[in-house]
Structure formats: structure tokens, C-alpha cells
Symmetry: C2
Subunit: 156 residues, 2 copies
């Protein structure tokens, strides 16, 4: 189904699906992110990781979340950008070096704001999957989306 | 109250509080993180950001989450590390360049696993606050924690 280039809240319907491109995660990037933001042995050192709960190098869940955001920013075409208000996040299984991730986002709910006529909220389930379709993160996100009539600002 | 250097599930009690050190977030780091993981105008360019919903440069919420993880990894002394299973995350207000963040984590619940005697879960509310005590992120995290009798692995 062809879609307009940028969507307003008025264009979004329950069941709409957005599929992202792919992102290959290698060991160097796992260790680089973790050294800065999650410096625990199972995220920064292959050998030390073997002796931990993860039994080998695993990406920080917050790294998977950051990659997911990158993929969402390119795959969800909302006018004004992808603006998250809140979310529920689960990591059902660690993400390992060499996995190729993509995100499939399904619209669960569309709710105009009661107090602000220029906007509303979209609830979406964003599933981050590896190359075998195995889930690595499931995010239920509440996104702020502008309405066509509301005078959304440019710039995103 | 003095605490043992590393805590097992058996040592964790409801109401226990952990306070992190401080982390100063500047514009360069906001733009560097966003260029890689959330390349939207309000996160990567001061001038473009003025014309958006945020009306100025704001950190990606996932950047605030990553910084929060850094502060948690240093402030929550669980044996085996800080291992998140899931979380609920809210960003009540954007984080701006120059803000100085810290995290205050309160234990809400402690639950031994029914099926695995070596571990359990701690529910914690982790509030990321700026230098004026204003909340920038609230994370309710479910953390996997090992029991003293369970043979937790070394390495973290």
C-alpha cells in the first residue's frame, strides 16, 4: 500500500506495520558502547564474559535499545519525527556479536490528545529481531504524533 | 548504614536506596550519540532544533537511558553485576546540554525465583535527576540478582 511521505496522526491506523532496514552488530561496537555506558565484564571482554551469567560477550540491552531507535528513526515516517514519551522494554534473550537486527513496528492504538488539539499518541509494539526472526528486544512505545490541522513544526 | 561490598538477593531489602555519582552531559556528547543512534534534528543540530517540538537541542531519551545505565553499573553493588530483564521507562522532560545527572534507585520489591533456587528478581525505581532535582527519566527496572547459596559466578 503506498503511503504519503510523512504521516500525521490522522493518517495512522491500528494494524499499520513499519519494517526497518538491517543493522549488523559486531563485537567491536558492543565493546565500544559498553566501555562508555555499561562497563560490565559480560559487555566489554570476551574472555571475562565466559565466566559470567551470559557465558560469552553480549550487547548491553541499552545498546540494543539505541540501535532500535536508529532503525525506528529511519522506518517510522511521522511528521515531526519519532518522539517517545514512554515505553515498556523487555530483553528476552541476549544479543550476540555478528547478529543482524531489524525492527518491525505495529500500531496498537491511536489516541488524539484531549487537551491539545494539535497532537495525539500512537502506541506501537516495536520488535527487534535477529536474522533468524528471534526476538532480542520488545518495546511497547508511546509516541507523540502531530495532527494535520495542528500546525506541526518543520525540521524533522 | 554500612553494607557488604557486593550484595546477594538475600542482602537486598525493600526501601534500600542507592545514589550514584554525577554525570555532566554536554552538547557535543548529545550530538555524537544522536548522530549514531537517533539522528533527528532536535538531537543533532542546535539551530535546526529551535524549529522543532523541543525548541532547542535535547538529548535522545535513549542517551539518557545509556547514561543512567552507566551510573547504575557503578552505584548498585549486586554480585554478578546489574542485569536487567525488563523495564518501564518515562521521560517527563527533555534533558538539555549542561545538565548534571545522577540516579537514585529505590528497591520496591524482592522476589526469589520459584523455579531457580540460585536467583531472584529485584524491582527498583531508578530516578535520573538533574542538578536541581528535576526528573529527566524514571525507570522501573526488573533486575536479575543471584542468591548467596546459589553459586553465583564470578567476573562482575
Amino acid at each position: 500500500v503506498p503511503r504519503p511521505e510523512k504521516l500525521f496522526l490522522d493518517d495512522v491506523t491500528v494494524g499499520m506495520v513499519f519494517r526497518s532496514s538491517e543493522y549488523r552488530l559486531d563485537a567491536d561496537e558492543i565493546k565500544e558502547f559498553a566501555a562508555r555506558y555499561d562497563p560490565q565484564p559480560f559487555h566489554v571482554d570476551e574472555d571475562a564474559a565466559k565466566e559470567t551469567f551470559f557465558r560469552g560477550l553480549a550487547a548491553s540491552g541499552w545498546h540494543v535499545a539505541a540501535i532500535t531507535m536508529r532503525l525506528l528513526s529511519e522506518s517510522i515516517p511521522f511528521t515531526g519525527g519519532v518522539i517517545g514519551a514512554s515505553g515498556e522494554i523487555v530483553w528476552p534473550h541476549p544479543t550476540r556479536p555478528g547478529e543482524i537486527l531489524h525492527v518491525e513496528s505495529s500500531v496498537l492504538d491511536v489516541t488524539p490528545s484531549r487537551s491539545k488539539p494539535d497532537r495525539g499518541f500512537v502506541a506501537a509494539e516495536c520488535r527487534t529481531l535477529n536474522q533468524d526472526g528471534q526476538p532480542r528486544q520488545v518495546l511497547k512505545a508511546k509516541l507523540l504524533v502531530f495532527r494535520r490541522t495542528g500546525g506541526a513544526r518543520e525540521g524533522a
